[in-house]
Symmetry: C2
Subunit: 884 residues, 2 copies
Amino acid sequence: MTTKKVYLFPEGTKEKKFLLGGKGANLAEMTNAGLPVPPGFTITTSACLDYYKDGEILSGELMKQVHTSLQQLEEQTGKQFGNIANPLLVSVRSGSVFSMPGMMDTILNLGLNDKTVVGLAELTSNPRFAYDSYRRFIQMFSNVVLGIDHYFFEEIIDELKEKNGVSEDTALSAEDWQSVIKKYLVLVEQKTKFPFPQDPKVQLSQAIEAVFRSWNNARAKIYRKINKIPDDLGTAVNIQLMVFGNLGNDSGTGVAFTRNPSTGQNELYGEFLINAQGEDVVAGVRTPNPISDLESQMPAIHSQFVDLSNLLEEHYGDMQDIEFTVERGNLYILQTRSGKRTAQAAVKIAVDLVEEGKITKEEALLRIDPDQMDQMLHPRIDPNVELQVIAKGLPASPGAASGQITFDADEAERLAEKGQKVILVRPETTPEDIHGILAAQGILTSRGGMTSHAAVVARGMGKACICGCEQLKIDLRAGIVQVGATTLKQGDHITIDGSSGHVILGTVPLIDPHLSAEFEQLLLWADDVRKIQVRANADNPKDAKKARVFGAEGIGLCRTEHMFMEPSRVPIVQQMILAENDEEQKTALAQLLPMQKEDFKGIFASMDGLPVNIRLLDPPLHEFLPNMEELIVELTKMKMQQTDSTSYLVKEALLKKVRALHEFNPMLGHRGCRLGMTNPEIYEMQVEALFQAVVESKLAGIDVTPEVMIPLVGHVQELKALRRMVIAVADRIQEETGTHFEYTIGTMIEVPRAALTAEEIAEQADFFSFGTNDLTQTTFGFSRDDAEGKFLHTYVEQKVLPDNPFIVLDQEGVGSLVKMAVRAGREKKPGLKTGVCGEHGGEKSSIQFFHDVGIDYVSCSPFRVPIARLAAAHAELNNSVKKN
Amino acid sequence: MTTKKVYLFPEGTKEKKFLLGGKGANLAEMTNAGLPVPPGFTITTSACLDYYKDGEILSGELMKQVHTSLQQLEEQTGKQFGNIANPLLVSVRSGSVFSMPGMMDTILNLGLNDKTVVGLAELTSNPRFAYDSYRRFIQMFSNVVLGIDHYFFEEIIDELKEKNGVSEDTALSAEDWQSVIKKYLVLVEQKTKFPFPQDPKVQLSQAIEAVFRSWNNARAKIYRKINKIPDDLGTAVNIQLMVFGNLGNDSGTGVAFTRNPSTGQNELYGEFLINAQGEDVVAGVRTPNPISDLESQMPAIHSQFVDLSNLLEEHYGDMQDIEFTVERGNLYILQTRSGKRTAQAAVKIAVDLVEEGKITKEEALLRIDPDQMDQMLHPRIDPNVELQVIAKGLPASPGAASGQITFDADEAERLAEKGQKVILVRPETTPEDIHGILAAQGILTSRGGMTSHAAVVARGMGKACICGCEQLKIDLRAGIVQVGATTLKQGDHITIDGSSGHVILGTVPLIDPHLSAEFEQLLLWADDVRKIQVRANADNPKDAKKARVFGAEGIGLCRTEHMFMEPSRVPIVQQMILAENDEEQKTALAQLLPMQKEDFKGIFASMDGLPVNIRLLDPPLHEFLPNMEELIVELTKMKMQQTDSTSYLVKEALLKKVRALHEFNPMLGHRGCRLGMTNPEIYEMQVEALFQAVVESKLAGIDVTPEVMIPLVGHVQELKALRRMVIAVADRIQEETGTHFEYTIGTMIEVPRAALTAEEIAEQADFFSFGTNDLTQTTFGFSRDDAEGKFLHTYVEQKVLPDNPFIVLDQEGVGSLVKMAVRAGREKKPGLKTGVCGEHGGEKSSIQFFHDVGIDYVSCSPFRVPIARLAAAHAELNNSVKKN
């Protein structure tokens, strides 16, 4: 029995991927879906294996089948190999089962020779195009099939251009290309000792053999080894009719999206050119027409194209990006793929497709990458404003920011201190610039990629950043930057859009993010699917309200220290810290109590009906005191100016206190529950304020569910002691006010020891909230403040770490502690509530992990709540997929 | 059948502890060992239980047995209850199975009454003694048996003293006591409505009942509850003959050690007084004679005592501290117990006992507490120097130190900077004094206990410290301290001995520790027993030599940064750090390389034949640069003095660099292998120096076993990259020199992530060395520098933590990571070598833990090597005991 070694496209199916390769199966699928794909056929992978089995010889049987298929192609197209009047030209491509960039490139226009090129010139009335195509074919074929280096061919062209005194290929005429071709043919014969094959069938069989051989070239072998692709799969060969859009006014070419990729509107979107090749559209020599013009210019083609685009969407269930060519009134689809789109369009398209019944809600959810939503949730440039884009770099950290250009980190800091907004512009940033990055609204560099120092640090800080904007010529010494003809200097205003990479002249109005109706719809579907709850981190009523609008199901972290940092309160907080005796301290605390109470009431009101998790004071006390360095400078000055001794002594005493509270490693210092243990009066004040607020809120008809959270617990005894204190205060207030209220007491798990001894700690905790920021710091032994500025970018760049672990949870290390603690905690206390309130709570792969280990809720910044809702749905859907 | 409820001492055995109580069983044991214990008998615990069963009534049967035994006692002693000429006096003591301080005190001299007291006065020719004894008996009996508060009796004495115008009891005469007794008897009758019982038998039965009742008093019940002692054990009652050493010149009393408790010499050591009671020895009214005089004064007794002391040592297998009384030529042993001794004596005695065949080597090893050895391994005061001890406080941190008195931490710092030695003297210390503690040689406080701030911090720093020395009256304002009649002021020199708690006037010569021959012997036995190896942490040839003398089996940690810190090298190191270009840096590194090489050669030479583990640079680079604060002050001054701009600009540039390298949390910052990753040239230089030293040492005939250790690894990729670098350098040097050498490459495990991913890391590591200092910091999230000064003492004091985790390993948290990592590492690589190089490597309970989890070696400071050797032997012996 003869094995079938060649399949015409309609004979294949997408299931025959192992036999036809990925590309062949796809061409078969498109053809069978009724698309006017240029016809052709595929030589199977098993034919390739036979080739090797037979000692690298193309079998007679194979070539017989190839010629049969070729004949069918000639019949179908009315063109023939070698026919000068109507030459059949084909492309030859390799096509393995798995995509393999290490293999042979495409050969286009196979079938051209000294005679058919004349026919092509006539057919297209474009001799320059025809001869250029032929010389390209010779070059491609000679390189891929005959193994002659490109260099020799390029040399011939360069010589000619030099002789003609021109620098661009476009300046060469048809006659020039003809002389080039002559030299090419001489070159080939010199190199191979044979003339360039003029017989298209010889060209074809040599090309097929080259594809087969490319399966075993060195690059392909290495690629397979690295990617663990078996060596015994072989490659298929695809031979397809070339079509031309430049055969007259009944021909043309274009590119179109089935929907608007910018807004998602359900309308054809794209452009086309009559009597042109794809290259003409790209080269920008002629201005293309909008696709809508097709209707008047080629009504039949337009109507066919509209039908096809519906068919394509139906078939692929997604918006398509289509390349097409019309050859003498025949429409051909050259390529179709899912179209790139903006975040906004992605959401609208997904939701519309569900409503049109083309995909399910679950498919729509999985269609949207939560990360892509990020750009919709940062301040962005008002889309109604005309922009003067002067350059484009890598979109390294999303969001938009405006400010005056500053080239120096110290200067940036100085200006920011004066309340001015700056964009730090540097060739690249180094750890020495960290204070400038911190002070700037955004960062713009002319060098470096997506993992450069500036990019990593800016993303970590959530600041807008554009990197590697190579059009900028920065002259630090002169304090200017040149962009093309424009010269900008220190102090000039620019705007950067970290989502698009655009650098814009001047200050541009920014708009706050909001959720479109479609986005809201999508998130409601996400809510139906997801198992994990989403809360927000919010420290004031304003943020709490915003979080609620974005769908937060409660507050997962209210950092009470932020309430201490209001400028009007800092003096009272300092008074408390610097108190010389209990009396002074009590006075200060008594002033703070009603303020804290009002803060809590405001938050409870905006979260009416939802849980609010309140963390007691966390940072070390010195954070509230004047800066030690500044004090030293001041004192030195006073000393030298012999300032009167009283005020000097006061300052000196203050410095002494600041020095006493100073810490070598504040991150690992006297903070969190350690403060609560040594300075119980502060926590007591906070808890008193909290429960008074609960009582007053209840009386005002607000439904309050307070959760009291103790930070930085490392040993169960800490939690035990502080839990006792909280209960005592609650009991007293319930008694004093005669009001009963419910509350829970839990702990952060943010040092490894807490995770390691979770079983004991669970006995004293109603809930665990994983502070994955600090847990990452302590598990790695990384100070985030130092690491991101000093070595983390090197680690990410050199792939020592796959990601910045402060953005993407380190599942292996930090995650193993989370897993361990959840398991141990629930073993001791089944159903123990667990949450995450680190920044990872809003990151998709981390959310997947938290979902998988059974965390009850994640909590993130209000703007990331929508992302978390979507990512949580993905987590559940991905698992269903895995299960099925 | 009648149950035996009363046992004469010879009838008991030490196995009958549950029946006779601990004390009763012990008295029986001593009696049966042939010791002349004053005779007596024990009422069983079951008699006590019967008492309660019978409704708190002493059964007739019990009292019959008591009287029978009493009669035997009278016959044996020739004394009778109530006999005026020769009255039998006894002591009555409770004696439960487990020691219970909550129970009844002793009643002495039971049997005295208005008549027998006259007999006692004549017998002793000491009426004052007799009447004082009687009034004591009345008071004790009335308090314990009749429940009358001591207060009423003390009031009577106070009135009399006031009347006589005297303040001390010793000023009262026999007649005074007689009048006191009269008033006592009236008081008792008033309070109880009954006269004080004059019949000794009544006294005895009442006393027995009181002991029984004391089993169920509130204090005893609570004590049992806390200590989980069952309530149904009951208590025994011990009734024993009173003997008197003041019955004439054939009587006497004394205290003796069977060996010298100070030196361990095998010689009787102690003192005695002819015709005296034990109290006389204590009171210091008469000067006792050295025990050696006994030979001439009472030759028979002396010879008997020598025999007895040999017998006792033989029996108890240890040096004994014996209280004895001679009553009319009869020697009685009142008490014998293991004698307290100095560390030096403890070692000598244990070793001598083995050599005398009295105990086994294993017993000798277990006899010595490794912690006690600590005092032999610190600088100590030359024992041949006469000391002027002016006060004694709590020995809070061992070692001796001399210096001038300083009352203020700032001043201490200032003086220390000038190279002066200071002792910081404070009522107590607070976190504000931390820089002063750091600067001082030693700390002396008048308040606070063994867990006070000063104590915890000093122990952590290894500084001598005496706490709670309440004799000191410190007047901070006047800058003086009063000790009794002596007044010392700021600048006066004192010496403190943190091992004894002695405060000594002036500067005293200190001597460096050395190992006695016996200690060496003991440690050799320890070496035979222990499984875990002991290495030392040493950074230079001097320390390495010392470590070797102390028995280290190699270097477990050589910190190469210490080699950078030599004053002559710091400028070169700074030049390397501040280099503006590669050339400058290379020049600096090239200067450092030969220095490092020489360092390594020196260490290899002193460790010839033993492994040397070398850790590559660990601290952040800013540690080698000038202090930022000082630079700021300098710059401020220069600015104000308008110093010429060149030198100002140089300084400013330096500050800028220092600021750029400055870190918020250096502990978690850019250090360890992170430096190696970002600044590979430094590690490469170190490795090159190391292997060059290996080659040159080998050529010099030295047996070198280098281990290259990469610090602070958190991710396997770090180790992988640096391992590759080390191998490349080693290969190159082997090729260049044509010399082959062996080496291993391993890592510190000192951040939790390394422990959590130990399995992966083991693939790249030949060994793991646990850096338990840093691992404790990161697991707890404690910065040691901050925690010990700011909150750790509170935690230890409040028992939030059982110990300072930087001294005693936290087995539950940090230990679980160590365990996890050892297990996972060995799963991947069976037989993986593991060590510990944190300070815990020299602490006994931690060593036990490391032994139990299968660590191969511990490494500690040279001076702790002997402690670790002994503790390692204990670990093995304790486990054998557990197994048996």
